[in-house]
């Protein structure tokens, strides 16, 4: 099982001939991901790490079954590449690119909704179904198979927590990075719903941050879940109104505060860790 992607997922890499694309294609192949094709306009016919390159997504799909695509495309061109994948009917589109204009993100998400496409990101580390399929950029070594689902807004913080889980003998079913931008595809609730249904997932870790109301919305769903949820929220010490890197991590108009989120999550029955390294202990406690 695992959610969204697994060992049978055929992956396309858009922007495969760029530095990032090539580097992470190698890393993903090393993790065992089934990368079947790449796209790079004008570079059709080449190969990268043994993967055939095509000029367009449509050309790749004429020759391969494609289930998911991952974008290593510079921000100004990312919208078009995402449109291309969505229009071609790719089921899951993972957008690693950061610094995409928010209006482009609005257009991507609107188009994806119309076509029923799952968009992960933009500005995400990607998705890892541990031991089966990594689509994105996390370091390979920390993700080992197991029964903890992880869903997060930010990248490195998630690696930190996943590494903590792994070090404590808690492998992961799937780790999903929603993306750090204000407008992204999947939401906490979308992923929590999938974890709740996934027989392999026994507990869920939610890694949130201050700003927005995604964690508050997630709390409403957590209340109805049968599986335990442990959360960690970053940004307790952030001064109000200061922009902390992510466009999403602004404390706006009194909403989205650390205290509000912790309160909502606690009321929903989730365990809330004060520091990242407390997460494994809380998970073990919750699983009894």
């Amino acid at each position: 099982m695992a959610i969204i992607v697994d060992e049978k997922t055929n992956v396309l890499v858009q922007g495969i001939t760029g530095n990032q694309g090539t580097f992470h294609t190698k890393q993903m192949l090393g993790y065992g991901t089934r990368i079947v094709a790449g796209v790079s306009p004008g570079k059709g016919g080449q190969t990268v790490e043994g993967v055939p390159v095509y000029d367009t997504v449509a050309a790749a799909m004429e020759n391969h079954q494609i289930d998911a695509s991952v974008l290593f495309i510079p921000a100004p061109f990312a919208k078009d590449a995402a449109f291309e994948a969505i229009a071609a009917g790719v089921r899951v589109v993972v957008i690693i690119t950061e610094h995409i204009p928010v209006h482009d993100e609005l257009e991507i998400i609107a188009f994806a909704r119309r076509r029923g496409t799952i968009v992960i990101g933009p500005n995400t580390f990607g998705i890892v179904s541990s031991g089966r399929c990594k689509i994105g950029i996390p370091p390979n070594q920390f993700f080992v198979p197991g029964h903890i689902g992880v869903v997060a807004r930010s990248g490195t913080l998630t690696y930190e927590i996943v590494a903590n889980l792994t070090a404590n003998g808690l492998g992961q079913s799937t780790v999903v990075g929603l993306g750090g931008d204000r407008v992204v595809g999947l939401s906490f609730v979308d992923v929590l719903e999938k974890f709740e249904k996934d027989p392999e997932t026994r507990a869920v870790v939610l890694v949130g941050e201050i700003g927005g109301n995604a964690e508050e919305e997630a709390s409403l769903f957590i209340k109805k879940m049968t599986k335990p949820v442990v959360a960690y929220i970053a940004g307790k010490s952030a001064p109000p109104g200061k922009r902390m890197g992510h466009a999403g991590a602004i404390i706006e108009r009194g909403k989205g505060t650390f205290e509000g989120k912790v309160q909502a999550l606690t009321a929903a029955g989730a365990g809330v860790a004060t520091l990242p390294f407390e997460v494994p202990g809380l998970i073990k406690e919750a699983l009894g």
Binding site: D104, I109, A110, T156, E160
Partner: protein
Amino acid sequence: MKLYEYMGKELFARYGLTVPRGKMVTSPDEAAAVAAEIGAPVVIKSQVLSGKRGKGGGIKFADTPEEAREAAAQVLGMTVQGLKVEMVLVEEKLAIDHEFYVAITVDGAAKAPVLIASAQGGMDIEEVPDEFIVKEHLDVCLGVQPYLCREVCRRLGLTGAVAKEFGRLLPTLYRIFREKDAELVEINPLVLSGEKLIAADAKVTIDDEALYRQKDLPVVDDRTEAERQAHALGLSYVQLDGNIAVMANGAGITMGTLDIIQYYGGAPANFLDAGGGTGMEATAKALEILLSTNPRVIFINIFGGITRCDDVARALVKVKQEKGINVPVVIRLVGTNEEEGVRILRENGIEAYKVMHEAAAKAVELARAQG
């Protein structure tokens, strides 16, 4: 990027919206001249990138050019919400029949643009009770259609000629929002004066990520020098008021690092997200920025994904050798190319931590010792 009020109004005027007659000036004499030109009572508005100017004394009224000169002299040079006033907008004073609020912004939860309007304008929208706020999500490709204007007017109680004008204003506001890559376009108050709707204020925020394709907009840069330097490196930096300089890679983990420092009783001097995949040279420059702020301790927290530990190690060694580092450095280094990074540091007499909270605790301890 926030636009100053006068810039926002210039933008509105270019799109055909009605704004008060007026002009931005930087001296009391100019203010008097503009007031004379307008030939009627004026308002003198400090141009700072902050709301709530009225409460801070940043807005004054004047009936004559001489009064305008005096008012401008008072406002220019004063400090509003910590920001020095260097420009004032001198405008005709409007005859106000009613004040509306109207804005278009991005709703991250709904993943769509949202139109917000209220008949209770003139104050902070978050203080207006929900039942007096009209909120309509927009289909990004359809924008504000005529039917939506009619519905908003109905709920605001607008009819007749004013409703018609409102029906022209809303699609124009959406065009500005879209064509200028705005995160926020806000008019508060939108003043009803007779049968006219006049944008008595203008709050426009342009998406920083889209500035590369918005070359015709004026440039507003209110960042500190360190923020500017970090931005030039493609990094995100926010000045804070503590004494432990922090660098981490990723916004979330950087926030988490600040949290853990505070947990152990320390005070971070800044937020520096060195991002993912930042190379050796840029990392070295980022470290120089940290040094330039004279912290007691530097704390580097790296969990290498795209970022390579050896790059970070080399950057640290480079800065140490070339510029010298006269404060203690605590570094936590795990992830991609960890062994190589740890080896490089060790060869240069630096011992890296593996565990984040142990490193943080050490940094706090050292900062205290330096106090």
